[in-house]
């Protein structure tokens, strides 16, 4: 049996738009997940919290355009910290041609503008790498 999913969410860097991340956080909570919402953070802080919280998923949000620099950095630091099994997902205004390089850099999924909340919930529920002992 899978345990309740635990998601650490953060807005990358200086990005100012909280609407998307807050709505996703609420929807995940309503879907029965445990959500730790960090607000604005740099990759180091996000990774530290994700490891401390024993997260299944790190949810990143950015509408500022900083995702190409900061999102891959989160994956890199998780791997370096021995927590490469934590899935990193990204939501926000991501131009279509940047999705492939992000996935190559280890981002598990990218959710662009207009993504139904159901789709994000289903994706997280489908992640099964951490099974309760």
């Amino acid at each position: 049996m899978t345990r309740q999913k635990r998601v650490v969410m953060a807005r990358l860097g200086m990005d100012a738009h909280w609407r998307g991340s807050i709505i996703v956080a609420r929807a995940l909570r309503d879907a029965g997940m445990e959500v730790v919402y960090l607000g604005n953070q740099l990759p180091e802080g996000i990774v530290q919290s994700a490891i401390q919280e024993d997260a299944d998923v790190v949810g990143l949000s950015s509408l500022s355009g900083n995702h190409m620099i900061l999102a891959p950095e989160v994956v890199k630091l998780l791997r370096a910290g021995g927590a490469g099994d934590i899935a990193v997902i990204l939501g926000g205004t991501v131009p279509p041609d940047e999705i492939a390089p992000l996935k190559e850099a280890g981002i598990a999924e990218v959710f662009g503008p207009g993504t139904p909340l159901e789709k994000i919930i289903a994706f997280i529920e489908g992640i099964n790498h951490k099974v309760s002992e």
Binding site: R19, I22, Y37, I69
Partner: protein, 560 residues
């Protein structure tokens, strides 16, 4: 007394309408949906004189340029002069944005609307660890007065009016000082400068929060410092633009949007009176910034309701006597949040309808969003298309020929009345919480906005709110029909300039400015009085913010 309709006519109309409802309307099929505005106000099938019968023409509507200003703040409106076409621009280093400003002015834009990047808006230098990945994104990067010189190089700032989109007071106190200081360096007196700064503490503490936010009471104080400074020294400058647009973008309804800007303006007015400024010295310079969202008639009614209500508030709460002090003047931006990344050229249609609602609602200036804004910063082509949308509206549609063309519409007047009373009720609720600054500290505003944002999204998901290309009429395997804007290199350029400036400037002078600033913070002095001169030392924005945070502290906003 000038009742719009005679009581006996209204009785007859009511009776005939009931018959029509019974014999005609209800015999036909109605779509299976709820008919209500985006803010949730129920909409009837038909409005008649009955709905506006209690209105008194001279008291409730009147004439443009006269109380209660609902029909327009100026007597001639667009027959006298068109609205200002103020297209937002800003990206990368100031060298690049300077070119875009010049391009838009050459193409007929009638004012500059300058937006700053994420770090600048939050008081950070481009080179700060938190800022580096965002330098030049979402706006132009400004670190020192030298960047301001480059940004406006070759632009006649004594002739062109400039809107500085300095959302947050912590940004505004530095950036507006740099703009003023730069003008003085060009031998232009600040009393000659025309323009607006945004300077809204709700943006800092609720709407676009970032790491290291000043506590609400200090962010509010900085906002009032700039207003006070301009009142004394820059009479042509609008020192604040209450950014209802941004509140709306983050989730507000039309009612909350207007209620919050007015509660904000009320709080500032109270504070400025407390500081001893006479009402007539600043009231006419308080300006507003609203969204044009997709509910066409509700938006028009919103602008009209805001004008009448503001006149009433200024008169009843503050005893304003000068007609100029009663005027609700506002800039409009079409709703970025309504734009879609799917089939993005459809956004041209959306923004056009929204701009039309702003003009039918009597806006003083308008920005039309570009079609690519759900994906990237606008390109030159998309910015030009947005500007042309305004020009087509102004020159080809003839909507400017008569003032307040929807005044007297049974529906629009009825909706205007309903919005006005809902907005008024919400302002009273904020009064009961002890005013806006306290409502922010308690997290009440945060909750209000997050709740409506979530409801909105659930309505979209449930299909109750159709969005073409997103939850209906989707295209499979869509291909992007245009090039995406790529942000020019910024960080390396800013880093190099900062390094040079820090070598060339007098660090002793900078230390003196920062020391004076710290003392001014502790003494509760007006900081702008000191900074307009102080920024000429090439002190950086980040250095100034550092002192502010040290002396005022930082605040953790409630996490919704």
């Amino acid at each position: 007394m000038a009742k719009v309709f005679r009581t006996d006519s209204v009785g007859k109309i009511r009776q005939k309408k009931a018959e029509w409802q019974e014999d005609c309307y209800s015999k036909q099929k109605e779509l299976d949906k709820e008919f209500k505005t985006l803010s949730g106000i129920p909409v009837e099938a038909l409005y008649t004189p009955e709905d506006v019968a209690p209105m008194d023409y001279l008291r409730d509507l009147g004439f443009p340029g006269l109380e209660p200003f609902i029909r327009g703040v100026y007597p001639t409106m667009y027959r006298g002069r068109t609205w200002t076409q103020r297209q937002l621009a800003g990206f990368g280093p100031p060298e690049e944005t300077n070119k875009r400003y010049k391009f838009l002015l050459e193409q007929g834009a009638t004012g500059i609307n300058g937006v700053f990047d994420y770090p600048t808006l939050r008081g950070y230098d481009s080179t700060d660890p938190f800022a580096r990945a965002d330098a030049g994104r979402g706006g132009v990067a400004i670190d020192t007065i030298d960047d301001m010189r480059i940004l406006f190089d070759g632009i006649p700032i004594d002739e062109v009016s400039t809107s500085l989109v300095t959302c947050q007071p912590i940004c505004n106190i530095s950036i507006q000082s740099m703009y003023f200081g730069n003008a003085q360096n060009r031998s232009i007196p600040i009393k000659a400068l025309a323009g607006t700064s945004q300077n809204d503490f709700l943006l800092e503490t609720v709407v676009t929060i970032a790491p290291g936010v000043l506590p609400p009471e200090y962010s509010f104080k900085l906002s009032c410092d700039a207003i006070e400074f301009c009142t004394r020294h820059a009479p042509r400058w609008n020192p604040v633009s209450y950014a209802g647009y941004n509140y709306r973008e983050s989730g507000c309804t039309a009612v909350q949007e207007v209620a919050f800007v007015m509660a904000n303006a009320i709080a500032c007015t109270e504070e400025l009176l407390r500081r001893g400024l006479p009402l007539e010295s600043f009231a006419a310079r308080l300006s507003f910034f609203l969204s044009a969202h997709s509910d066409f008639f509700e938006e028009i009614a919103k602008y009209r309701a805001a004008r009448r209500l503001w006149a009433k508030i200024m008169k009843n709460r503050f005893g304003a006597k000068n007609p100029r002090d009663l005027m609700f003047r506002f800039h409009v931006q079409t709703a970025g949040v309504s734009l879609t990344a799917q089939q993005p050229l459809n956004n041209v249609s959306r923004a056009s309808y929204q701009a039309l609602s702003a003009v039918l609602g009597g806006a003083q200036s308008v920005h039309v969003d570009s079609y690519d804004e759900a994906l990237c910063t606008p390109t030159e082509l998309s910015s030009l298309t947005a500007l042309r949308t305004q020009q087509i509206l102004q020159l080809e549609t003839n909507v400017t020929h008569t003032i307040d063309p929807l005044g007297g519409s049974y529906f629009v007047e009825s909706l205007t009345n309903q919005l006005e009373s809902r907005i008024e009720a919400m302002i009273e609720e904020i009064d009961r919480l002890g005013g806006l600054v306290k409502a922010v500290k308690q997290g009440w505003i945060h909750q209000e906005i997050a709740n409506t944002a979530y409801e909105y999204q659930k309505a979209v998901e449930a299909g109750r709110m159709p969005i073409v290309g997103v939850n209906c009429y989707r295209l499979e395997n869509e291909e992007l029909p245009f090039e995406i804007f790529k942000n020019p290199e910024t960080l390396a350029i800013q880093e190099k300039k900062l390094e040079r400036i820090k070598k060339e400037r007098s660090n002793q002078e900078v230390e003196r400015v920062l020391g004076d600033l710290g003392r001014a913070c502790d003494q509760g002095d007006n900081l702008m009085e000191l900074l307009v001169e102080g920024v000429k030392s090439c002190v950086t924005e980040g250095e100034i913010s550092g002192v502010l945070k040290k002396h005022y502290g930082v605040w953790n906003p409630p996490l919704f």
